[in-house]
């Protein structure tokens, strides 16, 4: 049976993303919660907000992140807070922590994806060129024999 609280970890603050925003507009606050077991759903559970994360890319294709390093250091160092994986990734990209392993895997996948797309576009371009050449070669004799 699922326990509401795990005694070993109960009372250990947790840093995570709180989804705030509205319909079709996600927006996250990087927040400190009293415990993982109590959930991240409700505003009343938030102990402190230590940053924001906007997952929608802006016009410059940037996802903006704001982090309060001083408070994060306090919660991580002094209070031994648990940190969720998305926040760990953000911290790694921001330079406070080393890059998270998942970020490497994701970057590798993305590189493979981009390479595939490039190969596909090259292949499509080659095919289109081939078709045009065939059309030209089939069209040339027809013009050389006037009816």
């Amino acid at each position: 049976m699922r326990k509401l609280v795990i005694p070993k970890y109960y009372g250990r603050p947790s840093i995570g993303l709180a989804l705030l925003g509205c319909t079709n507009r996600p927006f996250y606050h990087v927040c400190v919660f009293p415990d993982r077991a109590l959930g991240r759903r409700y505003e009343g559970n938030i102990l402190e907000q230590v940053g924001t994360f906007d997952p929608l890319p802006n016009q410059k294709n940037e996802k903006l992140v704001a982090l309060n390093f001083g408070r994060l250091k306090y919660w991580i160092g002094e209070r031994n807070a648990h940190i969720s994986v998305p926040v760990l990734e953000l911290l790694g990209l921001s330079g406070l922590f080393p890059i998270h392993p998942k970020s490497f895997i994701r970057a590798k996948d993305n590189r493979a994806l981009i390479a595939d797309q490039q190969l596909k576009t090259v292949a499509e371009a080659a095919e289109a060129e081939k078709i045009t050449q065939e059309q030209d070669s089939s069209g040339a004799p027809s013009t050389s024999h006037p009816q």
């Binding site: 705030l20 505003e43 996802k63 160092g77 002094e78 392993p101 994701r106 996948d109 994806l113």
Partner: protein, 252 residues
């Protein structure tokens, strides 16, 4: 701080995905950000869709698993060390007078200083305002006094004019009828009756019907109006005749 990680975050992030799925489920039950009161809405058993839904996460690639294993090992060690580093940093800051307490003291000092500056500025402004207001008061006072003077002069002039008017009226009322001279006035009027019941033509000739008498004798006629127009068929006076008549009167 800006992090350009749009491609990185869009591709994966199962934790993010899972939390968003959970939020979808919660939002369908019309729940808000605030914690509902106990028992409201009623605690329902999980929907069948949720209860018997098994999430089949796709298997990770073996090379990824292998890479993640040693990377995670190194990463977790680094995180443990970083926790120690942060703790030491905070302790060092506190011991070197850069901790929370010193920050609080510095902020309190700055606050006091700012309050003092604000007070000084307020004092300056108060003095300037007092001076400005006294000048304004003097000016307003002079303006009001001038207005009062003008108004008083106007009223005096009006009073004099009214008094003069009343005096003129009193002077004109010398021949008026009052209780004292009522009898004599009546006798005068009886001696010199004035009758306005007449017709008049353009030359100013008056036609009395009936002829006025000083003292009424016998019974007065019952008919008050004229039987017919007495001026009908008579030679009416002309404008020239009237002018000559007027000249004659003036010459006389």
């Amino acid at each position: 701080m800006l992090v350009n990680c749009s491609r990185l975050s869009t591709a994966g992030g199962r934790c993010l995905l899972a939390s968003s799925q959970m939020d979808d489920v919660i939002q369908k039950r019309h729940m808000g950000r605030r914690q509902p009161k106990q028992g409201k809405p009623p605690i329902l058993p999980p929907a069948k869709k949720v209860l018997y839904h098994v999430v089949h996460a796709p298997w990770q690639k073996p090379e990824d698993v292998e890479e993640l294993l040693w990377r995670r090992h190194a990463y977790n060690n680094a995180v443990i060390s970083l926790r120690e580093v942060f703790r030491a940093e905070i302790a060092q800051n506190a011991s070197h007078g850069q901790g929370i307490e010193s920050m609080k003291e510095a902020e309190a000092l700055e606050f006091d200083e700012l309050i003092a500056q604000n007070q000084a500025r307020n004092d300056e402004k108060r003095a300037a305002r007092a001076e400005r207001e006294s000048d304004d008061t003097k000016e307003t006072k002079s303006v009001i006094l001038e207005e009062i003077r003008v108004e008083l002069e106007k009223r005096n002039a009006e009073k004099k004019r009214a008094e003069q008017e009343v005096r003129d009226v009193i002077a004109r009322s010398a021949g008026f009828v009052n209780r004292e001279n009522l009898e004599t006035k009546i006798l005068e009027a009886l001696e010199k009756p004035t009758i306005y019941d007449f017709a008049i033509d353009r030359a100013g000739n008056k036609y009395f019907v009936p002829e006025p008498v000083k003292y009424q004798e016998g019974t007065p006629t019952r008919q008050k109006g004229r039987l017919y127009d007495q001026t009908l068929g008579t030679q009416h006076g002309t404008m020239e005749e009237a002018a000559s008549k007027k000249q004659n009167q003036q010459s006389l």
